[in-house]
């Protein structure tokens, strides 16, 4: 079935080489070296990785009524694209939007990240796993200053999102990537479940989901990482002045409530 979907997409864009890199319940992620409208070998000047692009494809779901399916695919694709563009305008590090074909469920965006020394992709998860493997009692490299700075940066990015009334909706350590080997500048990716929301509840759940993800994927150092992320989250609110401070205290007090709540506590994932 997956092959069928890939073939169908390839038929629609025959001149674009596609390499499937991941598949979720809703979308398939492809890597390609072809820009949608520039000639081969020519790239925009403001992308991190010239010649590397991501295509996110939401295939039709045959179980849905075709009319409903079209509507859902188009609205989700265009809202994700709008959000990416909004983030670009706000100056938040995120994949830049390159092209969108909403009726067909296609988003073309910039590729972020690089290859780690262990040949894996530079998601926060892989990077932390690598450091955790190298850590021992005398040299806890997973707790070094560069990790601290990186976690601060992540907290800041989430904070900026929240200050602008955006919630990510699916914060995990695989949805955060390091974009530069030298500076370790982090970026959030996969805005498929993101939305605009002014509710402290939604922001709190956003934080809570990330805390849970940290604890389940990086159990040993999760507390430290989380502390650093919250520091960054706090600082960026502090710099925003009175409004930011108010928002911060609302979010954090709700976050403590969400943590205590029985419903989410016994759930995994």
């Amino acid at each position: 079935m997956r092959d069928q979907i890939v073939d169908d997409l390839q038929l629609r864009i025959p001149t674009v080489p596609l390499r499937l890199i991941s598949q979720g319940a809703e979308a398939l992620i492809f890597m390609t070296n072809q820009h949608p409208y520039l000639p081969a070998g020519v790239n925009p000047c403001d992308v991190d990785n010239p010649g590397k692009y991501i295509i996110k494809y939401r295939p039709p779901k045959p179980y849905r009524h075709p009319k409903l399916d079209k509507r859902i695919t188009a609205t989700r694709t265009s809202s994700e694209a709008k959000l990416l563009h909004k983030l670009y305008q706000l100056g938040v590090k995120a994949p830049k939007l390159i092209a969108i074909d909403a009726p067909n469920g296609l988003i073309w965006m910039e590729f972020l990240g690089y290859q780690l020394p262990d040949m894996r992709y530079s998601s926060l998860k892989n990077w932390l796993w690598l450091l955790e493997r190298e850590s021992d009692r005398d040299h806890p490299v997973a707790l070094a200053d560069n990790v601290k700075d990186c976690c601060n940066g992540i907290g800041r990015s989430i904070g900026v999102l929240h200050l602008h009334g955006i919630v990510h909706g699916d914060l995990t350590t695989s949805n955060i990537v390091l974009t530069d080997e030298a500076t370790l500048k982090p970026s959030l990716i996969d805005f498929g479940l993101s939305s605009y929301s002014g509710l402290p509840e939604d922001r709190a759940v956003d934080l809570y989901v990330l805390e849970r993800a940290l604890k389940s994927t990086h159990p040993v150092y999760a507390e430290k990482y989380w502390e650093w992320i919250l520091d960054g989250y706090h600082d960026v609110h502090e710099e925003d002045g009175k409004r930011g401070r108010k928002k911060y205290s609302e979010t954090i007090s709700r976050f403590k409530e969400v943590r205590m709540r029985g419903r989410k506590r016994t759930m995994i994932g």
Partner: protein
């Protein structure tokens, strides 16, 4: 491997349990038999009796706790007698009495637990309190033979996507407000269609005749969903339709025909079921499973089964569903789940048989599984 026979009576090669269910408008009594040894393809549970009585409210009304509890009180003795007669089992041969401890409506739960306590003292049998959702899941697994499926539990009071992990049935996604069955039942009330055999069944029949898809809100939130807004919206459309309004949205945008009640039922089903299938697929991707089991009253709906089947097929997986005997609340599932718990040492003293309206699926420690 869990030892399922540590509590067996010496010299007796089987177990017998009587189960009583009354968490909503159905009163069910069932008798089940397990042979010694773990249950598998060659050692299936035997259903000796499965009787049920349903309380149906008049069209345009829902079942009220008070009336439902009265129905249960009136029928419980007759049903227990009938179940015992059907099964040909002697009371002295039973191992335990199982009853629904929750979740459900307080008054009906209460009336059944009172009957269970009385019988337990009369017959000197241990009581086993069963979580209603666990009853559905375990019965579904036993009937269909699905080993470790993602479970979609859809009924009048519950909408949950559940997967097993480390001895608990964990809730991955669920409704944030009303249950799917509740949504369908209440829409049936708006339409004034009969509650017999069930409002959902009557909506399903009407939906088969619908052909225009009306646009309704689609509210999936990650793995959770919300349905109260959809109900509000479709109720509004139905009211406008009945009052003869001529608004634009009461006509199909393609062929200009006026929307009918059948179209509304069709659209409501398509919309709600798409949401269910979507969150189920997300849970399947998350836990990397390709089996899906549908349980609960709404699970009888053939359109839901069809949609789920297409989704599972695309994931090279399979769907398991049961028919109305086991989908709709029944006593046999309580007997079965209760007996599984009894066989690993569970049991309730009289003082902890208080029923709980909000008994959650993931509170139960599933001692009888260790995979």
């Amino acid at each position: 491997m869990v030892d399922m026979d540590a509590f067996a009576k010496p010299g007796k090669p089987y177990y017998l349990a009587l189960g009583m269910e009354g968490s909503a408008n159905k009163l069910g009594v069932g008798v089940i038999k397990h042979h010694l040894g773990p249950l598998d393809e060659n050692n299936r549970a035997e259903i000796l009796a499965n009787v049920r009585s349903t309380y149906n409210a008049p069209p345009g009304q829902g079942f009220l706790p008070r009336d439902t509890a009265r129905h249960h009180r009136n029928w419980v003795v007759r049903l227990v007698e009938k179940a015992l007669k059907d099964s040909g089992v002697k009371v002295s041969d039973l191992d335990c009495l199982c009853f629904t401890q929750g979740p459900g409506m307080g008054a009906p739960l209460q009336s059944v637990v009172v009957a269970a306590r009385t019988l337990s003292q009369l017959w000197e049998l241990p009581l086993v309190g069963v979580n209603h959702c666990i009853g559905h899941i375990e019965m579904g697994r036993e009937i269909t033979g699905a080993r470790n499926p993602v479970v979609l539990y859809v009924s009048g009071g519950n909408t949950q996507v559940i997967a097993y992990s480390r001895q608990r049935y964990r809730i991955f996604g669920e409704t944030l407000d009303i249950a799917i069955g509740n949504c369908l039942d209440r829409f049936a009330r708006t339409l004034h269609i009969p509650n017999d055999p069930s409002p959902g069944y009557n909506i399903e029949q009407l939906a088969r005749k619908g052909k225009h898809l009306v646009e309704l809100p689609y509210t999936v939130k990650g793995m959770d969903l919300s349905m109260s807004g959809i109900l509000e919206y479709v109720d509004g459309l139905a009211h406008d339709l009945f009052s003869g309004k001529k608004s634009k949205y009461l006509y199909d945008e393609e062929d200009g025909e006026r929307i009918t009640v059948e179209d509304l039922c069709f659209s409501l089903q398509e919309n709600l079921f798409s949401m269910l299938v979507e969150i189920t697929e997300r849970a399947m991707a998350h836990v990397d499973s390709n089996q899906v089991l549908i349980v609960g009253g709404v699970g009888c709906n053939e359109r839901l089964q069809e949609m789920m089947g297409i989704m599972a097929g695309d994931r090279n997986g399979s769907i398991y569903a049961t028919d109305e005997r086991f989908c709709i609340d029944n006593g046999i599932m309580i007997a079965h789940a209760g007996l599984l718990a009894y066989r690993v040492g569970y049991g309730n003293e009289l003082e902890d048989t208080v029923c709980r309206q909000k008994f959650r699926t993931d509170e139960v420690y599933v001692k009888w599984r260790d995979d």
